[in-house]
Amino acid sequence: MTNEAHTVSAGSRTDPPDTAPLHRLEVAELSKAFGSTRALREVHLRIAPGELHGLVGQNGCGKSTLVKILTGVYAPDPGASIAVDGRQLALPVRPMQQREAGVSVVHQNSGLVDDLTVWENVRLGHYRAGRLSRRINRREEQRATERVLARLDRPLDVGRQVGQLSAEDRAVVAIARAVQDHRPGGGLIVFDESTRALGRSARARFFELVRSLVDEGTSVLLISHQLEEVVEATDRVTVLRDGAVVEAGLRTSEVDEVSLTRMMLGRHLVTHGRVGSQVRDKVVASVRGLAVGPVTGLDLDIRRGEILGLTGLIGSGFVETAEALAGARPADVGTLSVHGRDLALDRKRGCTEEFVDAGVAFVPERRLEAGVAGELSVADNLTLPRVRSRGGRLRTGSAWQSEETAAMIAKLDIRPPHPQAPVHTLSGGNQQKVLLGKWLAGAPNLLVLHEPTQAVDVGARHDIIDAIREAARDGCGIVLASIDPVDLAVLCDRVLVFRDGRVAKELSGELEQDAIVHAVFGDDTKPQEEGQSD
């Protein structure tokens, strides 16, 4: 291992530039704003040659934006610099330049085409055409693939279809593709959540292979939700929170999962403490036998005034459950009864009319894609679900609309308070308030929220949390699907933690963020200090 020389602390960013060749990758002053949202703020990242570097942070902290800037999908804001082996890359990064510099990325699903063979996948984008015929020389491409696999010491039948391979072998193919351009001992591979599909033993073999590459001098940036593997496998780790680096290049030997979690969460997000539970006895909504995505046979009861949290890792089924409850995603089987009305959750038709009529409201995660129509006005969006029921057939009626719009603008403090402003001119937080107000104005029986405070500022978050509590006080049953432990801890009466399609844990009572995070990220094999679970 060669990662000595620079125990880079978060403060020592003014190193003289002559140390540049010491870094395989050096990212400096990297910022990226999307509209009013700042996805990355002056990020610094240094990776030494022959280092396995971990990058962790909650969803939405900017990890994937960082990868997308490295691969040239996004252009960073001016002022950023990215250098590989001391050579500055022109920004935005061009794919050819990235390849020449030896930076390759293995994406979440490994980025493999199942219908193609091993050699076709490995050589994709590298095919050398014959000079005259412009044909691909199949034999030569296969030999090139075999050479790379031999270098990895993992020989595979290069003619097999990738779709037929085991998850472990697929990972080998993805790595082969990533390292084929590297001279031995050089280059940087970015693994962007690529270990998710691997089982326990496959994962161990995967890290053996990665470690052997690293020992030759190749650098690896491992982006992962599995804190356990980050702690076990990496040499150093960088922690991102809200788009900024909070810990740069910490030695992994000095951290554990709990301390990493604490760094990822921070404490500055907290806006207000819990209030007493407002749960009443009467069940307002019950789900029976729900099967959707990985989830099977799930039963739930939600009481009036109850805020029920659903959480887990992506793919654990909590998002699918919330969407199925709201009628947004057809379930395989299952029923929902809301306030005495029975609704089938396994619907062929996509329309949610009967859910809306039964008082089921859904605040989706991607607000501009699924929540509000950005080009239309605040008033139009706020009153949309009720124009049919409250308006006449020939007239929407303006009195109730302006009344409702004014009430929601006041209640949620929507700014600017102009009913006719197109929603896309509002800030993210105010767009989210419009989305929430659109449903709250109809006094729903069941309100399903998916990441209701994602990418909103502190003030808006405050208003949104207050509004959700008020809805609960008014007797609405609320389902909050979120990966944000702060929201869950502050709002929920009960939190169901999903893993692999099952409710792995139910937390209730006084909820602690740490307990929620442990239940989500942690492993069943290491039950630690979760006093709250019951």
Partner: protein
């Protein structure tokens, strides 16, 4: 649990939010606001002034006025038919002129060659157009085939049937009394002009003031948002294709009544004016948005421009140049308006 907060000073929602408002504030913003809505109308007025100066005795006459406002009924119905589908986000219905020609051929063929009464024939003509709309709707909405492909194919298909029915000839000889439903003069203009006015006003009212119109606008703006708000998105999309067919049919009956017959080979020439008007309409009244009143103004803007050029002595090719040029210019302006945002 009152979570310990280290940096939390509980800042109230602060400054940056006040920045953007929905209403123009400065004088220049107001000018942009106004220009984006009414610049086409200003160009229209300027155009009239130029023509009037160039051809004083010819252009500023009652005859010119009547030609411009008395001749565009087919286009009014066709643009409204296209708007039906464009408003719900089906971008390009290429079948509109062909469906119009289909109906316009059925009516005189049934009356002249088969001896039907005009009213049953008119009914069948409209029904035929509706059937084409239903087929378009089924293929696009239910099956999910690409709109351009379906409507291009259906348009060519029914256009071909119209040619077959008419034996590639003009079919004429409708009873003159039937012409009254389109040509009866009211205040110097044929009554069919007022049909167009009523249609456009009704459409504008529907979009602006009724629950259905609100749903249509949301489906056009964002299907997923609409679906999750309880709107029956597919029903509205399907309905828009049927309504589009019906409008083509009714427009065809009125046009045929005015003309006394129809030559189906002329249907194709309507395609460009229809698209040019609808897209030009997005630069009028409600900038960046497809709207009936803007489209209506766009139609007469184009008619004025072409008639003026023809009076100046330019020949028939000028209409292609003008319609084509305006279409490209209008789409460009509309794209820029959308990108800039309000």
């Amino acid at each position: 649990m009152d979570v310990t907060s280290q940096q939390d000073t509980d800042t109230p929602p602060a400054a940056p939010k006040a920045a953007r408002t929905g209403k123009p504030t400065s004088t220049s913003a107001l000018a942009v606001h106004f220009a984006s809505r009414y610049s086409v109308i200003a160009i229209w007025v300027a155009m009239i002034a130029v023509y009037a100066a160039a051809e004083p005795g010819v252009f500023l006459t009652k005859g010119t006025f009547q030609t411009i406002f008395g001749s565009q009924q087919a286009l009014v119905f066709l643009t409204m038919a296209l708007l039906c589908t464009v408003c719900v986000g089906e971008f390009v219905d290429l079948s509109v002129p062909a469906v119009f020609g289909f109906s316009a051929t059925i009516l005189p063929v049934l009356v002249v060659e088969h001896g039907w009464g005009v009213w049953p024939a008119a009914f069948v003509a409209v029904l035929g157009a509706i059937v084409v709309g239903v087929v378009n709707g089924l293929l696009v909405v239910v099956v999910g085939v690409n709109t351009i492909v379906v409507t291009l194919g259906m348009g060519t298909l029914v256009g071909g049937i119209a040619l077959w029915l008419s034996h590639l000839n003009t079919v004429s000889g409708l009873p003159t009394g039937f012409g009254k439903i389109a040509l009866y003069s009211v205040g110097g203009l044929p009554v069919s002009f007022y049909y167009g006015v009523v249609l456009v006003a009704g459409f504008a009212y529907l979009l602006a003031c009724t629950p259905l119109g609100r749903h249509i606008r949301f489906v056009g703006a964002n299907r997923e948002v609409s679906r999750l708000s309880g709107i029956r998105v597919n029903r509205i999309r399907f309905g828009s294709f049927v309504a589009s067919g019906a409008l083509c049919g009714v427009g065809a009956v009125i046009s045929v009544a005015a003309l006394g017959g129809y030559n189906p080979t002329t249907s194709d020439t309507l395609l460009l004016p229809v698209f040019a008007s609808v897209f030009l309409g997005t630069a009028i009244v409600l900038p960046g948005r497809f709207n009936p009143i803007g489209t209506f103004i766009g139609i007469y803007f184009l008619a004025t421009g072409i008639l003026g050029l023809q009076l100046l002595g330019l020949e028939a090719w000028v209409s292609s140049v003008f319609y084509g040029g305006v279409l490209v210019a209008a789409v460009t302006i509309s794209t820029l308006l959308r990108r800039r945002g309000p």
